[in-house]
């Protein structure tokens, strides 16, 4: 505990680093996964490729991906970009499948109604399909964000920053309090981000709750 109180500024810096390293990839991954998910939902070949490739990418252990990305990207071996790219790859692999499934679960009736009302395909995708897919996308984002927050720490074994530093430093200098504080911070950060995603998802889909109220009203 003394260690924690004496090193609050350091912990703060590591926390900020950790948030950047873990959440920027989730945002990048989401932005890339939406068009890819659309493609996978539209074409049979796209779906086969996406499902197999995302499964394959998700199989690669994080430490291995952190280390051999430089060989592909041509970056320096300790460049933070490697972590960002690696975690973006995991997020895309996870979300593409989720988004493709969510899009294909949008009822045909709704899609046809939108078309009949004169929605162009592009406007229908943004205005109808995507909003209806939000609950499933949020569920995927929660898994991606929580995994990402936990995985960043692995990078500290090969010199990357973030809260994982508290594990490597605590291990080398045998400061148990530092290791435990690191674990607690990672868990708390994951919990906070998870809660924010759930609340954000609810705020974006007011119709989900409206449906519940109406149903409850009818039952009463």
């Amino acid at each position: 505990m003394t260690w924690v109180l004496g090193n609050l500024p350091l912990i703060g810096d590591l926390l900020v680093q950790h948030i950047v390293f873990s959440l920027v990839p989730v945002v990048i991954g989401l932005v890339l996964a939406i068009p890819l998910g659309w493609l996978a939902d539209r074409t049979r070949a796209g779906r086969t490729i996406v499902i197999n490739l995302s499964g394959l990418l998700y199989t690669i252990p994080s430490l291995a991906l952190f280390v051999f990305l430089p060989a592909i990207l041509g970056t320096s071996i300790l460049d933070p970009i490697n972590v960002i790219v690696a975690l973006s790859v995991y997020t895309v692999a996870l979300l593409v499948r989720t988004i493709a499934d969510a899009l294909s679960a949008v009822p045909d009736l709704v899609v046809n109604s939108a078309t009949a009302m004169g929605f162009t395909p592009a406007r229908r995708f943004v205005g109808v399909d995507l909003p209806l897919a939000i609950p499933v996308i949020v569920a995927g984002l929660r898994v991606a964000a929580v995994s990402s927050i936990s995985l960043v720490t692995v990078g500290s074994t090969v010199g990357f920053g973030g809260l994982g530093r508290m594990f490597t430093d605590g291990f080398q200098r045998v400061i148990t309090a530092e290791i435990i504080a690191g674990i607690v911070l990672v868990l708390v950060l994951a919990l906070v981000v998870d809660t924010l995603l759930v609340q954000g998802g609810k705020a974006l889909t007011p119709w989900e709750r409206a449906g519940e109220t109406v149903r409850r009203g009818v039952e009463a």
């Binding site: 430490l63 051999f68 071996i77 720490t153 690191g182």
Partner: protein, 241 residues
């Protein structure tokens, strides 16, 4: 820099610190962990699922919550407490490897169509027979799914365990880092990735072999083939008969 040079150099494959030896170590840690995890998690998950109490839900939520637990933090904490050696990493591997199998087995047993279980009971099968001959075979897709995610977690964590002094393929990554030998690091990471993909493919194949063909077309969900048509689909002629 020639990254692949290290990997294809025969001199790096033999000897007590060669690729072959490290691969055997890595597979050894993985196999030992998986055997213990299977012996603990499959019977426990099956028992909790079979007893059909509502208290089993914590198993699944616990397994999901574990995703947030940083592997490295758990490893270094256990090694700091227990000391260097295999015990600390083994406990960490088990903590990460057991929950996916437990959750998969539990969910698999719970998701078995109640009508199938009722039919088995109706045919005179006892609790043990229902579990072993009906519920477990029907739950197999989800059980093997759980084993596969557990296996990936264990292979991945066994790599990181090299950081706390264990052998295995992770050694090349950390030794390469210490010696600034990047081809060795990258070669090691490629080996880890190939091992993980290969093991996953083996278990994917095993899933195809072991799971009853009747379950493979529609592993779950409402679109199950039914031998008896639902009342709506019955033709007037059938009703008249």
């Amino acid at each position: 820099m020639n990254y692949l040079g290290w990997l294809v150099d025969g001199a790096n494959w033999g000897g007590p610190q060669g690729i072959t030896q490290r691969l055997i170590e890595h597979l050894g840690y993985t196999a030992l962990t998986m055997v213990i995890a299977l012996v603990v998690a499959v019977p426990l998950g099956a028992w909790i699922g079979h007893r059909s109490t509502s208290t089993g839900g914590f198993v699944v939520s616990g397994a999901n919550g574990l995703r947030a637990l940083p592997t490295l933090g758990l490893l270094v904490l256990l090694v700091t407490w227990i000391g260097l050696g295999f015990t600390g990493p083994l406990i960490a591997l088990l903590v990460l490897g057991i929950p996916p199998i437990l959750a998969g087995t539990y969910a698999g047993i719970r998701n078995v169509d109640r009508a199938i279980v009722d039919a088995a009971t109706g045919m005179g099968m006892r609790g043990k027979d229902v579990l072993l001959k009906v519920e477990l075979p029907n739950a197999l897709p989800l059980i093997i799914g759980g084993i596969r995610s557990s296996l990936l977690q264990v292979v991945s964590t066994a790599t990181i365990a090299a950081y706390v002094g264990l052998g295995g393929l992770g050694r090349f990554i950390f030794d390469g880092l210490a010696q600034r030998d990047f081809p060795q690091m990258i070669g090691g990471s490629i080996l880890v990735a190939v091992l993980a993909v290969a093991l996953d493919l083996v278990f994917g194949g095993l899933q195809k072999l072991l799971v009853s063909p009747g379950l493979q077309a529609a592993p779950r969900g409402p679109r199950r083939l039914r031998a008896v048509p639902s009342p709506k689909q019955q033709t007037p002629a059938a009703e008249a008969a």
